[in-house]
């Protein structure tokens, strides 16, 4: 009932929504610049409080979070270079708005992982939900599995690599950056994209509005080989390249400063 506790030990506010438990967790083990703690019995707020305290206040540069148990919004807004490792699967909105961290997730993630990431590296060892890498501006996001719909929607920079398949509307309104898809792509690939490049090794179910095959250059080969080497992804398969046809959105004629205003 609203306002009361429950069998699971979670308390709820008058609306019946979960009341964040905001005490700093006491199960953190710190060893020099490294720390680890088990998140299974912690609230979302407690996990994020612990991460921020360790990284910003305690000088820890390498944190392992055990059993994230599909909790949402973990490690959001970390703006410092550090290493964060999730042993297990976070839920939705993991690692959004980060600028600098190197995150590894030994599990899967729900929707909107690394949304609006500015820089850093996020590596997911299994699959990811929809809206993976939405509006990222920089950094590398690697998913070693399949992802859902709308991967890299509104992408403004950075590189998204998916070793499996992607769903509908991948790269929708993409403005910059690269997507490297090793599997198949769903309908409407690159729909209404402004710029950037999408590389697909598998089949494309259909191209979106104004998304067209692009000319392959040595720079494309260099980029893909470099990314595969850096992230230990083995030999790169053969890709097709897709770009904006410039019929729907074309800002090439603008001055650089004007162009920056439009597509940033």
């Amino acid at each position: 009932m609203p306002g009361s506790g429950s069998r699971s030990g979670v308390s709820y506010d008058a609306r019946g929504l979960v009341e964040p438990h905001a005490d700093m967790p006491t199960n953190i083990e710190v060893d020099g610049g490294r720390a680890r703690f088990d998140a299974s019995a912690l609230t979302i707020r407690q996990v994020n409080m612990a991460l921020r305290k360790l990284i910003y206040n305690d000088g820890v540069t390498d944190v392992t979070v055990l059993n994230p148990s599909s909790k949402h919004s973990l490690a959001v807004g970390i703006l410092k270079r550090c290493r964060i490792h999730f042993e297990g699967s976070p839920g939705w909105f993991a690692c959004g708005l980060i600028d600098g961290p190197e995150v590894t997730i030994n599990g899967r993630v729900g929707w909107s992982v690394a949304e609006n990431m500015m820089s850093g590296v996020v590596t997911i060892e299994r699959s990811a939900g929809s809206l993976t890498g939405a509006a990222i501006r920089g950094g590398d996001l690697i998913v070693k599995g399949d992802v859902g719909a709308r991967t890299g929607i509104d992408q403004k920079g950075g590189t998204i690599i998916v070793t499996g398949d992607v769903g509908i509307n991948t790269g929708f309104m993409m403005q910059r950056g690269r997507q490297i898809i090793c599997g198949n792509a769903g309908m409407n690939l690159g729909d209404s994209m402004y710029d950037g490049a999408i590389y697909v090794a598998g089949k494309v179910r259909s191209l979106g509005v104004d998304c067209v095959p692009g000319d392959w250059t040595d720079a494309d080969t260099e980029l893909i080989e470099r990314k595969f080497r850096i992230h230990g992804l083995g030999d790169a398969p053969e890709f097709q390249k897709f770009v904006c046809g410039k019929q729907l959105h074309n800002y090439d004629a603008l001055e650089p400063s004007e162009r920056k205003l439009v597509i940033h």
């Binding site: 009932m1 609203p2 429950s6 069998r7 699971s8 709820y12 609306r15 019946g16 929504l17 979960v18 148990s69 599909s70 909790k71 949402h72 297990g88 699967s89 839920g91 939705w92 599990g107 899967r108 729900g110 929707w111 299994r126 699959s127 939900g129 929809s130 599995g145 399949d146 992802v147 859902g148 719909a149 709308r150 398949d165 769903g167 509908i168 509307n169 769903g186 309908m187």
Partner: protein, 309 residues
């Protein structure tokens, strides 16, 4: 927002009441207003009816107790008049009832006759389907209706955040596919051609308990199945016929199926193993059922999957 969940055991019965409760409670943040279940126990030669005689928030007050008792007696009298032999009638709440009957006649006639009793709404009818829904979260509803001990092979559930209609039973999911036995649906999304399909189905003689678009899906699918189509084929048709953004889960006496529209705009996570299949709006619900790291995935656009008991 809302959250949906489904579970099917392909190797026999399990504590599906408790399992669905754990899944739905983990998604309470998606909808604390009401919780509903469609669960399938072992089928026998009896027909199971779940019905209510009043909305829970209108079930008290001056003379209400007597009115509920009078209407309950009227339901039993009508069951006898229509040729049904009543085996049991029980109630956990005073306003929601479970009856088992021996009846071989037309279920539509039976449902219509019962719903003519003031305040009566038939939530489900069938040989094994039981729809239980009430206000509050999953733990509250499960405790109220003793679902922790419900054993069965499969079921679906829904947590509702009221956004466009009342906090009441009529707006709570799941929906039974009146008048078809043992078919129910939970749905997350919006149908944009709701009125068109409602008119068409009403012209075929169907009536609707609510103004919720989810009820359309249940009746739509059951109508096709009554014409001889399989659940899977009916669900595939729905992807062309129903407009909007939706993910839904449909259950019959021995099947559980999922469908996602072509935009794949509504979430669903799938866990599949040989004995067990579980689906839910969020991964957290899967984790509440399978308390370990498991391989899950998001079904893609226009994907229809059906599993059998």
């Amino acid at each position: 927002m809302c959250g949906i969940a489904g579970v099917i055991h392909r190797d026999g019965t399990a504590d599906i009441g408790a399992e669905l409760t754990a899944m739905l409670q983990s998604m309470k943040h998606r909808g604390p207003d009401s919780t509903g279940y469609a669960v399938y126990g072992p089928a026998d030669d009896l027909v199971v009816i779940r019905f209510v005689l009043a909305e829970p928030n209108k079930s008290t007050g001056f003379g209400m107790e007597e009115r509920l008792e009078r209407n309950r007696a009227e339901v039993e009298s009508r069951l006898a008049k229509i040729g049904a032999e009543v085996a049991t009638v029980t109630s956990d709440t005073g306003y929601a009832f479970r009856a088992t009957i021996r009846y071989g006649g037309d279920l539509k006639a039976l449902a219509d006759y019962l719903e003519d009793v003031p305040g009566c709404e038939v939530l489900s009818l069938g040989s094994s389907l039981e729809i239980i829904k009430d206000l509050g979260d999953a733990e509250t509803v499960s405790g109220q209706y003793k679902l922790g001990s419900f054993r069965g092979t499969h079921g679906i559930g829904h947590v509702r955040m009221a956004t466009e209609s009342e906090v009441d039973l009529a707006s709570a999911h799941p929906y039974w596919a009146y008048p078809f036995a043992d078919v129910a649906v939970v749905h997350n999304g919006q149908l944009t051609n709701y009125h068109q399909w409602r008119r068409r189905l009403e012209q075929h003689g169907h009536r609707f308990q609510s103004e919720c678009d989810s009820e359309i899906i249940a009746v739509y699918l059951a109508e096709y199945m009554a014409q001889g189509l399989s659940l899977e084929t009916a669900m595939k048709h729905s992807l062309d016929d129903l407009d909007g953004v939706f993910t839904y889960v449909c259950v019959t006496g021995n099947e559980l199926g999922i469908a996602k529209d072509e935009m794949a705009a509504k979430p669903l996570v799938l866990f599949e193993s040989d004995p067990l299949v579980a689906v839910a709006t969020e991964e957290a619900a899967i984790r509440a059922l399978v308390e370990r790291e498991v391989e899950t995935r998001d079904p893609y656009e226009r994907e229809v999957l059906v599993w059998q008991v």
